[in-house]
């Protein structure tokens, strides 16, 4: 092939990506094995135990009927928020630096959504009837209650899952085609199917560009609506501390915040272990750092507002709520959250910090720990201090809950590890677009 006499810049990208799919080291199998084992032992086993004996295996009690399962649900939905949302926003605003990272960010969206949907199954008391929450004609003539914020959730998450799946898939079609031409065996069959027969003609590019942009435009309001709706699960109740109009923007900002931190973590791992050093650079960490810093400030502001509106309401229930949050049983967790999510991110004012990889990794993990705490506190502090003091109570997660929380992380990692071997985890064609284009050279005229 005449390609060999070229500087091979474009081909390098193909080689790198195909190598990341086809060449699998021992470390990968070991990691996958551990992740799958942890997922089985810490997620599925306790879940089956809980299914068999009843939800009492978790630590929930009478006033605090929601617990870590729902906190995990919000957490995973939140984590899903930066992937596709960020990717869409950056696509529409034509940001070049998006291109090396968006595929893995979108995958993060997809898998965290899957884990979140599973958390709903873990959360409900009778998951074997969960399909009743879906609108389908049935012999009972019964339909779900469309006035319920929980049903908004069902619709929103279904739509979001469908949209994210389609978005990541559509952006990958040209890459599937590129990989298709380079692989053999079962992989080739898979990619032949997945690439739909993509050839890269000008018509195909044109249609893809349009469809992709339309999807991006549709998904941005969708993603914003998804987390607003999740927040309404809480804000539409009468519980002091939850019944607040600020909840929708609060949740959306929190979601994008933790999601962006999640992207930093994932990018670090990809860069380190998939050898994408020249694709994922300091520039990406710098830009993500700026975004994170902005989001952390916004998040801090909303947190202060939340306290302010509670105080300004002047009702005893809200006062009690604030007092309990700041000084009560869960206060250490609250201050930990403030430290991780409001104080520590201020380090990112320094450019040096933003462009160093390991500190950014540590910070991104700290932020997500803080954000998980936030979701836990939203549920635990409010539900245990409601209107009637007689029904106050403290909730402590049980071993089963903690195990399932750890296990859900392993489920996510497992899914992600399988993903990086099937999907080209960096977009081949969009990276090529950012590279210097091939120029016309007179020497090539002879044929």
């Amino acid at each position: 092939m005449p390609t060999e006499e070229k500087p091979l810049q474009f081909a390098d990208v193909n080689n790198d990506i195909v190598r990341s799919l086809v060449v699998t080291g021992r470390n990968y199998y070991i990691t996958l094995g551990i992740a799958m084992f942890v997922a089985l032992a810490c997620f599925f086993f306790p879940w089956f135990y809980q299914l068999y004996y009843g939800i009492g295996a978790a630590g929930m009690n009478h006033p605090t009927v929601w617990g870590t399962y729902l906190a995990s649900f919000i957490f995973w939905i939140g984590l899903s928020h930066s992937g596709t949302l960020l990717s869409c926003v950056l696509h529409i605003t034509n940001s070049e630096w998006r291109k090396a990272m968006y595929r893995s960010a979108e995958a993060m969206t997809l898998f965290s959504l899957l884990v979140a949907a599973t958390m709903v199954m873990v959360h409900v008391g009778r998951p074997w009837f969960i399909h009743w929450a879906a609108p389908y004609p049935n012999q009972m003539g019964l339909w779900p209650n469309f006035k319920s914020p929980l049903l908004f959730d069902v619709m929103a998450i279904t739509t979001y899952l469908t949209g994210s799946l389609i978005f990541i898939y559509m952006g990958s079609i040209p890459d599937f085609a590129a990989v298709r031409d380079r692989t053999s065996g079962w992989r080739r069959h898979l990619y032949v199917l997945l690439s739909l027969g993509w050839r890269g003609t000008d018509t195909e590019w044109h249609r893809l560009g349009w469809a992709y942009t339309f999807l991006a435009v549709l998904i941005i309001p969708l993603a914003v609506s998804v987390h607003s709706i999740v927040s309404w699960d809480f804000a539409m109740s009468l519980v002091p501390g939850l019944h607040q109009t600020i909840f929708a923007p609060y949740f959306v900002v929190g979601a994008i915040y933790s999601g962006t931190a999640g992207i930093v973590t994932v990018m670090f791992v990809l860069r380190k272990y998939m050898n994408f050093e020249h694709l994922i650079t300091q520039l990406h960490f710098d830009n993500l750092g700026k975004l994170l810093l902005f989001l952390s400030l916004l998040w801090t502001y909303i947190n202060m507002l939340e306290l302010f509106t509670g105080w300004y309401s002047g009702t005893s229930a809200e006062y009690e709520q604030i007092k309990y949050k700041l000084t009560g049983f869960y206060a250490p967790l609250y201050w930990e959250m403030i430290l991780f999510c409001a104080v520590a991110p201020l380090l990112m004012f320094s450019t040096k910090f933003r462009t160093s990889f390991v500190p950014m990794l540590v910070l991104s993990i700290a932020i997500n720990i803080g954000m998980y705490t936030e979701r836990f506190l939203i549920i635990a502090t409010t539900l245990s201090r409601q209107y009637l003091p007689d029904a106050w109570g403290v909730y402590v997660p049980s071993l089963v809950e903690i195990s399932i929380l750890v296990g859900s992380l392993a489920v996510f990692v497992t899914l992600f590890l399988i993903f990086v071997k099937i999907f080209p985890s960096v977009s081949i064609y969009e990276v090529k677009e950012t590279m210097p284009q091939p120029r016309k050279r007179e020497a090539n005229l002879e044929s």
Binding site: N14, P135, W143, N145, K147, G197, G200, W210, A211, N444
Partner: protein, 170 residues
């Protein structure tokens, strides 16, 4: 039985120029194949209109109407009085409407994409695997050997590194 002339180029600019020359020489609309989207195709080969936008619009409208109909219709189908609210309540049903608008907008966009870009391909089509890496190809359908050699000459003159004759059909 038709044959296709396929010229491989090392850069998008000369590929685009070759396509323009072919079109001016009276060939059917040439097709470009490239590893990345080429800018300025429309200026050379004439504007393209995509039907996807219509799919998206009608999909979204259908989804919106359908979403409201789903929420309001099922509420009437089996009345469950709840919370002192009317059976048909706008604020919650509008959220369902919103989500369904987006869902069907997305699904229709995909359908529009598949139809307008002729996917999935069932038959083999003219293709050069190099175009997925770093080559830019121009293909044009030729009825007979004469037109093929004419097209090949144009492609070579425009700087093609290689010209292939790809037979389609049987």
């Amino acid at each position: 039985m038709s044959s296709n002339a396929l010229g491989l180029f090392g850069d998008p600019v000369s590929a685009l120029a070759a396509a323009g020359t072919l079109k001016d020489a009276g060939f059917a609309r040439p097709e470009l194949m490239s590893p990345i989207p080429i800018h300025g195709v429309e200026e050379v080969l004439g504007p393209k209109k995509s039907v996807i936008r219509r799919f998206t619009l009608f999909g979204a409208i259908f989804g919106g109407l359908g979403g409201f109909a789903l929420a309001a219709g099922t509420a009437v189908l089996y009345v469950h009085p709840t919370g002192g609210r009317p059976v048909i309540t706008f604020p919650p049903f509008l959220i369902i409407t919103y989500e369904m608008t987006i869902l069907f907008g997305i699904l229709a966009t995909v359908l529009g994409f598949l139809i307008s870009a002729r996917f999935p391909a069932i038959r083999e089509r003219v293709y050069a695997p190099e175009t997925a890496v770093d080559k830019f190809a121009v293909t044009v359908t030729c009825d007979n050997e004469d037109t093929f050699s004419r097209a090949a000459a144009i492609l070579r003159a425009a700087g093609a590194e290689e010209v292939r004759n790809i037979r389609e059909g049987e």
